[in-house]
């Protein structure tokens, strides 16, 4: 949605006029001025990080065009920048690894082949040279391509938009409005970590492939840029000192490694694995053919990969609360630091598998527009809100997302939602006739509306509780099949943005369902009219007060300046919070 920029003058991927012939010259200092967008106030593009950039030019340009913002982060000064020069290497390492693998494999085969007596003959030497030459040429081609790609990738961070130009033959110019930002991730794959680089991912709600990926930047730069972007998206005017202040953060919880391991042991996979192993042994013993075991190697590998992935993703999981959003950091090989601004979480699901009941652990998932739109390789990486945590931790995380529970007895309501049945604490459950359609879990099914959110519980063996804030409901659905109709039941669905959480209140009594639909439509309307997506710095103050009150003060303060060392930078910045002028089309459909 946001990813499709309105074609402005010069927005259409215009070929870089002097840039095109300049393609072959390896001199990185020849920056071509034509790449700067003529529609903006940026006459020059001395954007090379490594080249002899021309600072006086830049300052003069800024002064001439009256740019007010005094360069909060070097990357965010509104000029076209390139990624870090090492990027091609980090991106191309896989290709090089494959090439090396082939060489090693060939050498290995030759070393072990009996006919080759130590490589003394000329033919062997020639073959070796040939191979090396081939590898060298391949590496050169890859390097050249990576270099060209890098040369053609530029980004620009402006006051209100981020632009990214990619592509050598098929050019793409993507422009993302900062007020449409859904989340910002700093991702460090293993190789990037070794080289001290990070990828900055800006998520917008545009479906698959709509994110803007700035890969790779120096880690410190990426952090600074993330800060600046979030401050600008929040509407904080960066003050004269230049740097956007790092929003103070308060660590909420860490997931210890032993708990993560135990939680994985308590899942269904070890059980399935054990059963499969027993069956396998029995089959092999009975048939006397051990070859059968090898047929299962791929399946075992698949399961092992999945388990390893879950462990690697959940490793070192930390949640911190800060004014610019919820911060999630996790990962063993590939680390990921996610920042989800307030109000960008569309729905939350708390889930408790059967075997987690003893220690009363819960896992949480979230819907964030933009996250689920990613490719399949990103599935499950970004939507985990809490891999495993105690109930108190889960409730605390929930209270961060929903500071005002909007009901009298939040603990009781939540308790009934997490493990209760029946009509306690204002819950509306499914009637007895629902047992014909859902013999196991019908007692658990039910919903509860509070002043701020819709809660839907389900699941007898695997308990689930879905929470959707009223102002995040996209639309509502009512469904009734022939059997449900006969039994006087109906299902209500709250449609959230694509993601793992799909709240469905199934098999409610038909009048209850009708009432829920009618009331929910009205409530969502009221909640929407009072909440705007852009004012999260203003919401923050109220939110943190609400959170402190709502959780009964169990934490020593949810206010952003919990550190207690004088007024926090955010408090300082608050007077500067600029209620942006209601520009026409600001709220228009993305």
């Amino acid at each position: 949605m946001t990813a499709a920029p309105p074609p402005g003058p010069g927005d259409v991927a215009e070929p870089d006029r002097p840039g095109a012939p300049d393609l072959g010259t390896p001199d990185p200092s020849t920056s071509d001025p034509s790449t700067s967008d003529p529609s903006t106030s940026d006459p020059g593009g001395p954007a090379d990080p490594g080249g002899p950039a021309d600072p006086p030019d830049d300052v003069a340009a800024a002064a001439a065009t009256g740019v007010r913002d005094p360069e909060p982060a070097p990357e965010a000064d509104g000029t076209w920048k390139r990624m870090h020069p090492v990027t091609p290497l980090v991106r191309g390492w896989a290709v090089l690894a494959v090439l090396l693998f082939f060489v090693v494999q060939q050498r290995g085969e030759r070393a072990f082949s009996p006919g080759d007596g130590g490589g003394g003959d000329a033919f062997g030497r020639f073959q070796l040279l040939f191979t090396l030459g081939l590898v060298g040429v391949g590496a050169l081609v890859v390097a050249a391509w990576a270099y060209v790609t890098w040369r053609f990738t530029r980004f620009r961070v402006g006051e209100e938009v981020v632009e990214l130009r990619t592509g050598v033959l098929f050019r793409q110019h993507r422009r993302v409005r900062l007020d449409r930002l859904q989340a910002v991730d700093v991702v460090q794959p293993l190789v990037a970590r070794l080289t001290g680089l990070s990828e900055l991912k800006l998520e917008v709600a545009g479906g698959s492939g709509s994110d803007v990926s700035l890969a790779y930047l120096r880690s410190a730069d990426a952090q600074r840029l993330r800060r600046t972007l979030l401050a600008r998206a929040a509407g904080v005017q960066v003050d004269e000192t230049g740097e956007a202040p790092e929003a103070p953060e308060r660590e909420v919880l860490q997931v210890p490694v032993d708990r993560l391991l135990l939680s994985m042991l308590r899942s269904v996979w070890p059980v399935i694995g054990a059963v499969a192993l027993v069956v396998l042994v029995v089959v092999v013993v009975v048939t006397g053919e051990p070859g059968i075991a090898f047929g299962l190697v791929p399946a075992a590998l698949g399961v092992a990969t999945g388990v390893w992935g879950a462990f690697s993703r959940g490793f070192g999981f930390r949640i911190a609360a800060s004014p610019d959003g919820l911060r999630l950091r996790h990962g063993l090989t590939e680390t990921r630091a996610q920042t989800v601004p307030p109000g960008r979480v569309q729905a939350v699901r708390l889930r408790q598998p059967l075997l987690w009941r003893g220690p009363d652990w819960w896992a949480m998932e979230m819907d964030v527009a933009g996250y689920a739109g990613g490719g399949a390789d990103d599935a499950g990486k970004e939507t985990v809100l809490l891999p495993v945590g105690t109930r108190a931790q889960a409730v605390e995380v929930l209270s961060l997302l929903l500071p005002d529970p909007g009901c009298e007895d939040p603990a009781g309501v939540l308790g009934a939602g997490l493990e209760g049945t029946g009509r306690t604490h204002g819950w509306v459950d499914a009637p007895r006739s629902a047992r014909w359609l859902d013999p196991v879990a019908w007692r658990r099914r039910g919903y509860r509306t509070t002043g701020t959110a819709l809660l839907v519980r389900s699941g007898r063996l695997v308990r689930q509780l879905d929470v959707v804030p009223h102002e995040r409901t996209q639309s509502l659905g009512l469904e009734q099949g022939p059997l449900q109709r006969r039994l006087g039941l109906a299902t209500v669905t709250a449609h959230a943005t694509p993601g793992p959480v799909r709240p469905r209140a199934e098999h409610l009594a038909a009048p209850d369902a009708a009432r829920l639909l009618a009331e929910q439509a009205a409530r969502a309307r009221a909640a929407r009219s009072s909440a705007g997506p852009e004012r999260w710095m203003e919401d923050l103050a109220a939110a943190s007060r609400g959170a402190a009150g709502a959780t009964g003060g169990t934490r020593e303060g949810a206010a952003p300046d919990a550190g207690g060392t004088g007024p926090s930078p955010v408090e300082d910045a608050r007077p500067d919070v600029v209620a942006r002028p209601p520009a026409p089309g600001r709220e228009d459909a993305p």
Binding site: W436, R472, L478, Q480, R485, A496, A513, A521, R528, A589
Partner: protein
């Protein structure tokens, strides 16, 4: 389990439904008839080539379903309705499996108006609302083109007036 009376679950209070054009039934009947006749072709071919007339009987189930659908389509189309309230659009569909979708205007991301060749011949079009959720299935088939355009513009203008981000 005694079947309860239809308690107006799909009829919220104070909602007057607008029906879609009966020409939609015609279009759907034509489509259904074509779909029913298609299996007849191989049946006839086989019957003639193999000289086994009973092969034609295999088509009878298709024919039965086809006849049933011809009867049901009229009621199905009559069950489709939509209502524009002040802040949201209601779309109702289905006889056996009934659905009702409530889409707030402010949640609308874009509106599609589509019409296939048969639709155009019959003079109807489909208006579909899209929100940021993939689960929202709010499509209104069988609108006369003028009404479809009016609805599209009206939805778009109302959505603009009540827009809220995500």
């Amino acid at each position: 389990m005694a079947a309860r009376a239809d308690d107006g679950v799909f009829d919220p209070e104070g909602v007057s439904w607008t029906r879609v054009s009966p020409r939609l039934a015609t279009v759907r009947r034509v489509g259904s008839a074509i779909g029913t006749l298609v299996p007849l072709v191989p049946a006839v071919l086989l019957a003639v080539l193999l000289d086994r007339w009973w092969i034609l009987l295999l088509w009878l189930p298709f024919a039965a379903v086809g006849v049933l659908r011809q009867v049901v389509i009229g009621r199905q189309v009559a069950a489709i309705g939509y209502a524009e309230r002040d802040d949201d659009l209601l779309v109702r569909q289905g006889l056996l499996f009934r659905t009702l979708v409530v889409v707030p205007y402010g949640r609308m991301q874009y509106v599609d108006v589509t019409a296939g060749p048969v639709d155009r011949w019959a003079g109807i079009a489909t208006v579909q609302l899209h929100t940021a959720s993939a689960g929202t299935d709010a499509s209104i088939p069988g609108l006369p083109p003028a009404e479809a355009e009016r609805l599209r513009d009206r939805l778009a203008s109302r959505g603009e007036a009540r827009m809220a981000g995500l």
